[in-house]
Amino acid sequence: MTDTTISHLDALEAESIHIMREVAAEFERPVLLFSGGKDSALMLKLAEKAFWPARIPFPLMHVDTGHNFPEVLDYRDRRAAELGTPLVVASVQKSIDEGRVHEETGPKATRNRLQSVTLLDAIEEHGFDAVFGGGRRDEDKARAKERVFSFRDDFGQWDPKNQRPELWSLYNARHRKGEHIRVFPISNWTEMDVWQYIEREEIELPSIYFAHRRQVFRRDGMLLALTDFVKLLPDEELEELTVRFRTVGDATCTGAVESPATTAEAIILEVAASRITERGATRADDKFNEAAMEDRKKEGYF
């Protein structure tokens, strides 16, 4: 009698692959959001597996706030080139230049929220009908209630009170022209699962995920990196620390954590011991209020 136990990583992988194949079969123009962050790196690996030995049958898209870590952009471009997969870059700067959105002002201005408009414009421009996002249900209370196939109306809005029931592994892909479906193939993965899988599959990540020396300053209880896009407030001081990033977003609101972890294995040990959620520790954008994520999602955010 052979061992028929399926490990949690294999079960999660199988579920994600199933979801990606459903999308490739049922939609005309899917696209995979690829920021170069670890969750999108995971999605990309799963997409490779789902269609091997064929190429991934949809393009990648990066919503570029213009406030990037250069290591992440290098990684993004290199991965797309290695896979031979087309990459669409939707630029928030262009949306600002064209007057579609207005830049926030003040020292704590961020372009995070502006991304929704750029994303929706790009979806419309390219006629995408399914958009893969790397959102996970363990990240936030609003995300915990989102479907794997999450319907968006022709304004790109999410209606959390009127979601389609989702049963078994039967996903309802039906939509009218102009509407689209956000698809979250890694909904059921936790931060720990993601890191365990990254280690097991030896998935390459941008170097900023691992410990390095960096000039940082403290703001709102977080360590922010010194970049060209932020100005120090009078009471803020620069210091050089050994840090790593737990998420990769807009450089103006993505915080680092002090850590000596230089490998996925070391990070897994830190995650296991961590007492603060990934978003709580490192994303200023979610700290606004209890419903910050829900409000942004309704507007069309990832």
Partner: protein, 415 residues
């Protein structure tokens, strides 16, 4: 590490959110910032204690109304298992939410208040778990602290429920007395209930045997996607990608393909460059076949001597999710495995009252949150098994072709 999915049912009054909060807290899955946020909100709202329900009520409308609207998914892990909780609310849209949560669950956790015993809602949830073929059911008798941890109370409730549950299709029934508020028998025992020598809830969740719940006998793989790389390196490659829905497949196995009825053998099983010696549920793989036969999405790969029924007539228990009722003569889009078609409702034999299990044979419609036995005629053959035998090849959803909403879910019966 194995994964266990379980659905919890009950209302805020039963202490369900407190119990989940306790499981997460005691297994160290609640993070400091989440707890801080809940403590702050509880203070602002003037509660005397930290309301752990706030951890799970995610949407603004839910917090405003103090009720849980939608199924929420929660995650925790111990060194033995990873758990996915489908937390289904008790009040609003109860059937729809419970059915959704139970559809993927290995185990159902039902809470009753020790002071009130088994109430209508506990019975309703148990019936739904049974209809959805959730094999393991745990009845947690909560708030034991409010009945002085009295063994007689627990025994009486357990006995009453066991007797009633005889009518259900549940293979494994477990009773655990707990106090979620004080953490008794959730993750550790307490001297307050020295008379209880069974497992704690967490211990049970970690050890309950689910290995034989999957169907490893009837080989089934609905074809999801045909992989043809059209590249120089893999010029002639043709693979049939899908998720194994039952049984096992091995290279060399003779297989039957439906609807063509042609047979061939498995040349290889691929997963990203790795050749597998075996594939079983719930693996997502790609099968290569020895002969070049015409196969497309929606076809079924099975074994010549063990095939699902190919039929355009289906008998099923259907749960209805829409305010627009299901009527005899109604037409809907149907999705079954990877096959899409249209379905006509030919007959509604009866509507089932999930509280009394009684049948109403006079009802002309199924409305929101109702269930009934239905006959459907399908525009094209589907390859089906009885739902009790296979949850994947035995289930389907119905979609309103006008609004594109998912309006019903069906479990196929043997005929």
């Amino acid at each position: 590490m194995e994964m266990l999915r379980f659905a919890t049912a009950g209302s805020v009054d039963d202490g369900k959110s407190t119990l989940i909060g306790r499981l997460l807290l005691d297994s160290k899955q609640i993070f400091e910032d989440q707890l801080e946020s809940v403590e702050r909100t509880s203070r602002e709202k003037g509660f005397d204690y930290t309301n752990l329900a706030l951890l799970t009520d995610g949407l603004r409308a839910e917090r405003e109304q103090g009720i849980t609207i939608d199924v929420a998914y929660r995650y925790f892990a111990t060194p033995r298992r990873k758990f996915i909780i489908a937390d289904t609310p008790g009040h609003v849209q109860y059937t729809r939410n419970m059915v959704t949560g139970a559809s993927t669950a290995d185990l159902a956790l039902i809470l009753v208040d020790a002071r009130h015993g088994v109430v209508e809602q506990s019975r309703r949830h148990s019936v739904i778990a049974s209809l959805l073929s959730v094999r393991h059911l745990v009845l947690c008798v909560n708030k034991m602290d409010l009945v002085d941890y009295d063994q007689l109370v627990f025994d009486r409730i357990s006995e009453e429920f066991r007797e009633w549950a005889g009518k259900l299709d549940i293979t494994d029934l477990t009773f655990i007395p707990v106090s979620a508020l004080h953490g008794v028998n959730v993750t550790s025992h307490s001297p307050n209930m020295g008379w209880y020598d069974g497992p704690t809830l967490l211990h049970h969740l970690e050890h309950v045997y689910i290995g034989s719940d999957r169907n490893l006998i009837d080989a089934r793989m609905p074809v999801q996607f045909v992989i043809r790389p059209m590249s120089d390196a893999y010029h002639d490659y043709r693979g049939y990608a899908g998720t194994v829905a039952g049984g096992t497949f091995r290279p060399g196995d003779e297989v039957l393909v439906l609807p063509s009825g042609l047979t061939t053998t498995i040349a290889g099983i691929d997963l990203y460059g790795e050749e597998l010696s075996e594939a079983m549920p719930p693996q997502s793989v790609t099968l290569r076949l020895a002969d070049d036969i015409d196969i497309s999405r929606g076809d079924m790969i099975c074994r010549p001597n063990n095939a699902p029924r190919a039929t355009q007539e289906i008998e099923a228990m259907v749960c209805w999710f829409s305010e627009r009722p299901m009527t005899v003569g109604g037409k809907y889009a149907i999705k079954h495995t990877t096959r899409s078609a249209r379905a006509l409702v030919r007959d509604l034999h009866y509507r089932m009252d999930v509280n009394s299990l009684s049948r109403d044979e006079t009802s002309p419609t199924l409305t929101l949150n109702e269930m009934g036995r239905v006959s459907l005629r399908i525009t094209t053959p589907l390859f089906v098994d009885e739902y009790r035998r296979n949850r994947t090849t035995g289930s389907f959803i119905l979609i309103d072709e006008g609004t594109n909403e998912t309006v019903g879910a069906g479990m196929i019966l043997d005929t």
